[in-house]
């Protein structure tokens, strides 16, 4: 039985537990039955350690539930970044980190043998040159160290380049570390320069998305190189893991629902397939695919007739119209809503206080959630997809029944 450690080797497990505690927050220890109870206890303890007071617990009918409770508009820094700062390391890792940085601060450039000698002078045991070479190689790849070859000797020097050299403001790091992709990288910089956010707060910020950044980075690298990948896709809905060989084209983000997707060349009858990033557990990069550029162009053209993720169907788009009652004197914000939220739809005034929104989309079904936000003012729906239109009317009737026939 291994001893509990505050740090972790593998990010994926803590990612799963953090997401469960934060997004759902109603599961008890017994609900986490894919792993052992001991695993649950260890992960829960780590999350409590990382997030402190944001982790809460309560006893309910099903037992003790642990949840992460936070209003994302009230926190200066994404608390989930702490999970990225919990990587475990060996004694050799930490000793070599500090000794190499110290030795190369004192010396402009040194060979492997010189570094090995200087390190071994300072420790009671002896490091093999190979161990030190590996660490130097790793740090060269990180960009911390520069390796140069002169005649037959390799020289290592500290890459004396620091954040301050770029003249970028600390405010920019604070802001983009919360709103830009891979913001956790900004938080690493902030840690180093001891920069704390006091100026910004963020609304509608889906902080939990950062837990997929590792996965997203692999996909972005594949997109850059126009390479195919195998993704290990796991859906909570059906509890099944599938491996898909895909050509990723773009990251597709919903800033309203908090879902992020990768759009890829489609499978079967679909031209494009859409995968939720939070369902992807692993990415393996494969070879380059020469179809990338052409597919990307085709995808761009699909955006014009897509309201959400339906980028998959061939043929003529469906026409849709929604007529609304809007009190022009007091409710001009509704007209503005139609314009800014309508995603390419047209808004026109039919007569006093009556406005029409129309759009041509691949799948009218994608508009259903948005249409319902106008409940209370929908005069009429019409269009090619009668099923969707009827569903709206059925839903309103059901809701009226749920709330006492709407008669209160």
């Amino acid at each position: 039985m291994s001893e509990y450690s505050e740090l972790i080797k593998n990010f994926s497990r803590i990612r799963d537990y953090m997401r469960e505690f934060f997004v759902f927050g109603f599961k008890t220890r017994n609900d986490f039955n894919q792993k052992s109870k001991r695993t649950y206890d260890n992960e829960r303890r780590r999350i409590e350690n990382y997030l402190g007071d944001l982790t809460k617990w309560e006893y309910g009918d099903g037992g003790k539930k642990v949840f992460i409770s936070v209003d994302s508009s009230k926190i200066p820094v994404n608390p989930f970044y702490k999970a990225y700062k919990s990587k475990s390391f060996t004694d050799n890792d930490v000793i070599l980190h500090f000794l190499i940085l110290d030795i190369l601060t004192s010396n402009d450039r040194l060979t492997l043998d010189e570094i090995t000698d200087l390190i071994n002078d300072r420790v009671e045991f002896l490091f093999e040159p190979q161990t030190i070479r590996n660490k130097l190689k790793e740090y060269t790849e990180y960009g911390i160290i520069t390796a140069t070859k002169e005649k037959k000797a390799h020289y290592y020097s500290l890459n004396k380049c620091y954040f301050e050299d770029f003249g970028i403001s600390n405010d920019a790091i604070n802001f983009f570390s919360e709103v830009a992709p891979f913001g956790v990288v900004g938080s690493y910089i902030n840690d180093r320069i001891d920069n704390k956010n006091k100026k910004f707060q963020y609304k509608h910020n889906f902080i939990v998305n950062t837990l997929e950044d590792n996965i997203m980075l692999d996909i972005i690298n594949a997109i850059k190189q126009q390479k195919r990948v195998i993704i290990e896709n796991y859906s909570n809905r059906d509890n099944v893991a599938n491996n898909f060989n895909i050509l990723p084209l773009i990251i597709y983000v919903s800033v309203q629902t908090g879902r992020r997707y990768v759009i890829a060349q489609g499978r079967g009858k679909y031209r494009f397939s859409v995968y939720r990033l939070d369902y992807i557990k692993g990415v393996k990069t494969l070879e380059k695919d020469d179809n990338f550029t052409q597919l990307k162009q085709t995808l761009e053209s699909c955006f014009e007739t897509s309201f959400s993720t339906a980028l998959v169907r061939e043929g003529k788009p469906e026409h849709f119209e929604m007529t609304l009652f809007v009190n022009e004197q007091t409710e001009d914000y509704i007209i503005k809503r139609l314009e800014r939220e309508g995603r390419g739809g047209r808004v026109e005034k039919l007569r006093r206080n009556i406005y029409k929104y129309s759009n041509d989309v691949f799948d009218t079904n994608e508009l259903t959630t948005w249409i319902k936000t106008f409940i209370g003012r929908v005069v009429e729906l019409s269009g090619d997809n009668k099923k969707v239109i009827n569903l709206f009317y059925d839903d309103v009737k059901k809701m009226a029944e749920m709330y006492g026939g709407g008669d209160e």
Binding site: K203, I251, T373
Partner: protein, 316 residues
């Protein structure tokens, strides 16, 4: 090495760096550093580890660094690539005062803007490229930094133009709205009048102000006034994947949920800002009959009113 998850960015390395750079330190001083910068149990794990590190020496009850230098880790490739990526963001110019673009010339960005599409972002977001918008933002930012009043000419949503003196206190950004707002203290004749929230995009001009204010600024109590008195309580049904959709969509709010195994329903309390009530209401409406609002009484009344109105429109 392009990994986000590495010990070199880790909390323990940061704490050890802090300890060696500030040595000699007593155990208590080290504990304080670990408690401030580490995780909750880091003291327990890290303190014994320090005594085994060959570059730290414990003598006379204090911990001494045996390193010759203070440790300052250079910027890594992934950090440089991220800086390059954010430098290509249209919002970057708002912060680019003394920035030398050429320093990032030969660096490959970690990502390109074109590799992302934010498909449901509102289309009337702020015009970040606009010269005057940038100028106003920088002036507001400088005033916020220095806690100095500025005179702001502002056009409210109804088109009325106002001129007031403010000390900006905090920015708020919404990726959905694609807009900056800021909270500011309104100052008149040296007195704090109130706190307001202004849209950056509605500012017509920002000038230096001759107002002064010597008192303290405390935005938090003002914001707390907007916390809802009672949470909205909803019951979400296991239909059309609603529970999962609901939980993700409302994850930006503070909430507390219970799941009933027998009925397969989830009951959730959502805590929201009073100023966001309509936003919460229409978000909940969008879920249709896959959820039921149970309270608060006042919120339920608003919700029922909309449904009743719609039902009557359908019935004709």
């Amino acid at each position: 090495m392009n990994s986000l998850f590495s010990e070199i960015f880790g909390c323990y390395y940061k704490v050890i760096t802090e300890i060696v750079n500030n040595s000699p330190l007593s155990v208590d001083e080290i504990r304080n550093i670990i408690n401030e910068k580490g995780f909750a149990e880091s003291c327990f794990h890290l303190l014994p580890k320090l005594e085994t590190l060959p570059f730290i020496e414990k003598r006379d009850g204090k911990y001494y660094s045996r390193l010759e230098n203070k440790i300052k880790m250079p910027i890594t490739n992934i950090e440089k690539s991220w800086l390059k990526a954010i430098s290509q963001d249209p919002r970057f110019e708002l912060f680019a005062v003394d920035y030398d673009k050429s320093k990032l010339d030969n660096i490959e960005p970690l990502y390109e803007q074109a590799q992302f599409k934010y498909y449901d972002k509102y289309s009337d977001g702020d015009d970040f490229d606009n010269y005057y918008y940038q100028k106003h933002f920088r002036k507001i930012n400088a005033a916020l930094e220095n806690t100095t009043p500025v005179k702001i000419v502002y056009q409210n949503p109804k088109g009325r133009i106002t001129v007031n003196h403010y000390i900006p206190v905090k920015f708020e950004f919404s990726p959905k709205d694609d807009k900056f707002r800021f909270f500011a203290a309104r100052i008149r004749n040296g007195k704090l009048i109130d706190y307001v929230c202004l849209n950056m995009g509605r500012i017509l001009d920002v000038r230096n102000s001759n107002e002064t204010y010597k008192g303290k600024l405390n935005l938090e109590p003002h914001l707390e006034k907007f916390d809802c008195e009672e949470p909205v309580v909803v019951e979400v049904y296991d239909d059309r994947n609603a529970i999962e959709r609901f939980m993700v969509e409302f994850s930006t709010y503070r909430k507390n949920s219970e799941f009933d195994d027998n009925t397969q329903t989830c009951t959730t309390k959502i805590y929201y800002r009073k100023t966001d009530e309509i936003e919460v209401l229409i978000k909940l409406l969008s879920f249709g009959p896959t959820l039921k609002v149970l309270g608060s009484e006042r919120f339920l009344k608003l919700f029922k009113y909309r449904i009743k109105k719609q039902y009557e429109m359908i019935k004709g």
